[in-house]
Symmetry: C2
Subunit: 463 residues, 2 copies
């Protein structure tokens, strides 16, 4: 019982400082989503396993955290499965609930369950933890937050333009310079058509998606191994190394894909999105973000059906900090076919790391206490509590050190909590009706009468 307590591998505690920083990220995303007309929803952490199973592939099924049924959980296990220790059958007999693996499948389930109450197009965002029984490693957790914004029920490419604006808005607020990479699944299909390898679409995209990591040479090698013909590869490589402005790239590709109907549809979609984006950014000068058409971008091809988006931090090597795209038929698996959706997901942990690496977090937490009233004894404290109440009414975060201990210890406490001001009202100050305010950073001390302290508290205790 008295063993040193610990938490499960891959999970984390967040102390006050980390929480303030995480709240800064989540609040920025939340406020941006609200400003863009996305509405927040929450779904339960526990979903029935029938909702979750089969949605993430075989590997995903294994990574689901399954919850043991309550009571006599063995009662539904048949003797044969039991005696044969048939893990799969026993699992499904002893567990009917699991923990949410992502926010997308629960969202699809939500849309289907509440279809009659939801006004479509439905713009929702969701910020909640998810759980994966992955092998924990640096930067990969078993419990972590996802932040998703999606629009379902609208095929319009205006949604894509808006999502690009949302990404720009959030990262501009956070001060992160980004490269927003754009592609379209239909263009990938068109490319496969053009090189005469439509049947190798998956192989091609899996390989070229890795071009940043392994280089063109190894991509070619992988394609050869997958059985792609020499001529096909020769036609492909110039497309992967297309250079020039976005406009030039589109013009070139447009020429190349002119015989592929699907490819040209992708080009047309991309042109609409890029032009919408550029209109909005016209006259903004060099902003914090750059749009980069990248025809090797795939991001889980089997999921996306149109636009594909990925955001990288321009100044830190860390992989993508956000991504998304358009998917059709999200809700088909729950019996509601034909609903299209498009969305992006913010990688909160990666964003946290980028802000840390670039030292972009606000220096002073907006959440921590601003003023510590030192405790000189019962009589003095009574007076402090009254003043504190008035400061709080003026929205100045304040507190009394609860115990009457040595003043040095109380000042150490103020420093440990990064509290910028200490107020001292000792016996003499109490008699004279004044308070000594100490600026903890500069050490400077000033006297105020009680009225002034309350009246001018906003300026006296400026952060």
């Amino acid at each position: 019982m008295a063993n040193k307590p610990s938490i499960p591998k891959g999970t984390r505690d967040f102390g006050p400082e980390e929480m303030a920083r995480r709240n800064y990220i989540f609040n920025t995303i939340r406020e941006a989503c609200n400003l863009f007309g996305y509405q927040q929803i929450e779904t339960p952490a526990l979903e029935t396993l029938s909702t979750l199973m089969g949605k993430y592939g075989d590997e995903g099924d294994k990574l689901l955290f399954k919850v043991l049924n309550s009571g006599d959980f063995l009662k539904d296990v048949d003797e044969e499965s039991f005696s044969q220790k048939d893990l799969r059958k026993i699992t499904s007999a002893i567990s009917e609930k699991g923990l949410r693996y992502d926010l997308t499948v629960p969202f699809a389930r939500f849309v289907v369950m509440h279809r009659n109450d939801i006004p479509f197009p439905f713009k929702r965002f969701q910020i909640q933890p998810v759980w994966r029984a992955d092998r924990p490693q640096k930067g990969r957790y078993r419990e972590f937050y996802q932040c998703d914004a999606d629009v379902v029920g609208s095929p319009s490419l205006n949604n894509e333009i808006e999502l690009l604006s949302l990404l720009e808005f959030v990262f501009a607020k956070l001060g992160i310079r980004t490269v927003i990479k754009l592609n379209n699944r239909k263009i990938l299909s068109g490319i496969a058509d053009y090189i005469g390898a439509s049947d190798h679409l998956v192989d091609i995209t899996v390989a070229i998606d890795k071009i940043d990591k392994i280089g063109l040479e190894n991509v070619v090698k992988e394609l050869e191994e997958k059985g792609l013909k020499k001529e096909a590869i020769e036609k492909l490589t110039p497309i992967l190394t297309l250079s020039g402005s976005n406009e030039e790239k589109l013009a070139t590709l447009s020429e190349i894909l002119k015989d592929s109907e699907t490819g040209m549809k992708g080009i047309e979609e991309m042109k609409y999105v890029v032009s919408g984006y550029e209109q909005l950014n016209k006259g903004k000068g060099s902003g914090l973000s750059t749009l980069d058409l990248d025809f090797s971008l795939a991001r889980g091809l089997n999921y996306y059906t149109g636009t594909i988006i990925e955001v990288k931090a321009a100044d830190v090597e860390i992989g993508s900090i956000s991504g998304g795209g358009r998917y059709d038929n999200l809700t088909g698996v729950f019996g509601m076919p034909g609903i299209t959706g498009v969305g992006v997901s913010f990688g909160a942990d990666r964003i946290y790391d980028v802000l840390s690496a670039l030292d972009l977090f606000p220096a002073q937490s907006a959440d921590g206490p601003q003023v510590l009233f030192l405790n000189f004894g019962e009589k003095e404290s009574g007076c402090c509590l009254q003043l504190i109440e008035k400061l709080r009414d003026a929205e100045v975060s304040s507190m009394l050190y609860p115990d009457t201990v040595k003043i040095g210890k109380q000042l150490t406490y103020a420093n440990a909590l990064n509290i910028p001001y200490a107020v001292m009202i000792g016996e003499r100050e109490l008699e004279e009706g004044k308070a000594v305010v100490k600026n903890m950073a500069s050490g400077e001390q000033r006297d105020y009468c009680f009225e002034a302290l309350v009246e001018d508290c906003k300026s006296i205790f400026a952060r």
Copy 2:
């Protein structure tokens, strides 16, 4: 697969409207806690079962949601337990993690694990869901949020006074009139001493805690059944029906308990807290809350060691909406003895019900979109997107209806989402550089040139 999806019993989805209301409650509590110098932490939903088991009694252990180990979960089950279907042994072999049951035990674990990094006294608050495999029923859920504020490491009664202020502050912000009931475990011990039934302390408190529900007569009956002597009961009843002001009650009880050392310590503590509370409320007139000393209040006696607090809504019959008290030795079970703590917990679901019953939620959600730009076609939309971006920069939540569909349908959408303003820029308006703003509630329409629309957006689109 295409079955109608559902969610587990006792869990809930929260749509945009409920979320806005829940956020209103959580934000009020969060802002109040920050203002009072409490700092937010979060702990993982998953804890190791050794942290959770044995902390909530046998019944509690059964109500823990246990998570199945990954991979071959049967590998640690010994043959004997397996063949005998020994549920307890099998459970502990196949499951080593569980879902958080409350916020108190994880907080104690947090304090012990991070003892060297935490400046004491540690004032923390925590707003997170908890899970209990309880039988779901009206108002009782298997997944629900708790909101706790605690101070650990300070024996000072100033903390109790501050917590009472916090309760007052939060419920005043929410506009809920409350009765704050106060008792002290030491007074309960003193009463048991006084009536000569110290050995029946638990029986007495369990019985008298129910006086509101079952009435004095039934309390007496229960005490007789528990073997309390007639004389003891005769000495007890006048205490339970003490009337008068708080001061008068304390004076009477002080006389009654004068021979019980523990009882007098309780009286002394309560006097300090009541006097601190009254000093702060002096001159406030009839506020929203009343302090009521209630010597029958127990709230899980075995847990609290000093002050006991319970808050009831004055205008709705709904049980307690908040409660708490002082507990000693919270962390002893994790090998860190001698730490005292005191705290309160806000019942978010009950508070939600009270606000609903009294119609106290803000009429207009602060989170929903404020302005819907109607979509008249590609050219008009392009113009809208530019204006929308400027409104967002001015923090006016706005969006374009993404698809070019009938205007009537778009207006219906605005109504369905409670969007207060619609902006119409058709072909003619585009040429003339003006926008028609429709107030959705009054039906009133006004024209603005684009510059004015942006310039004065805060006043044009006032909520």
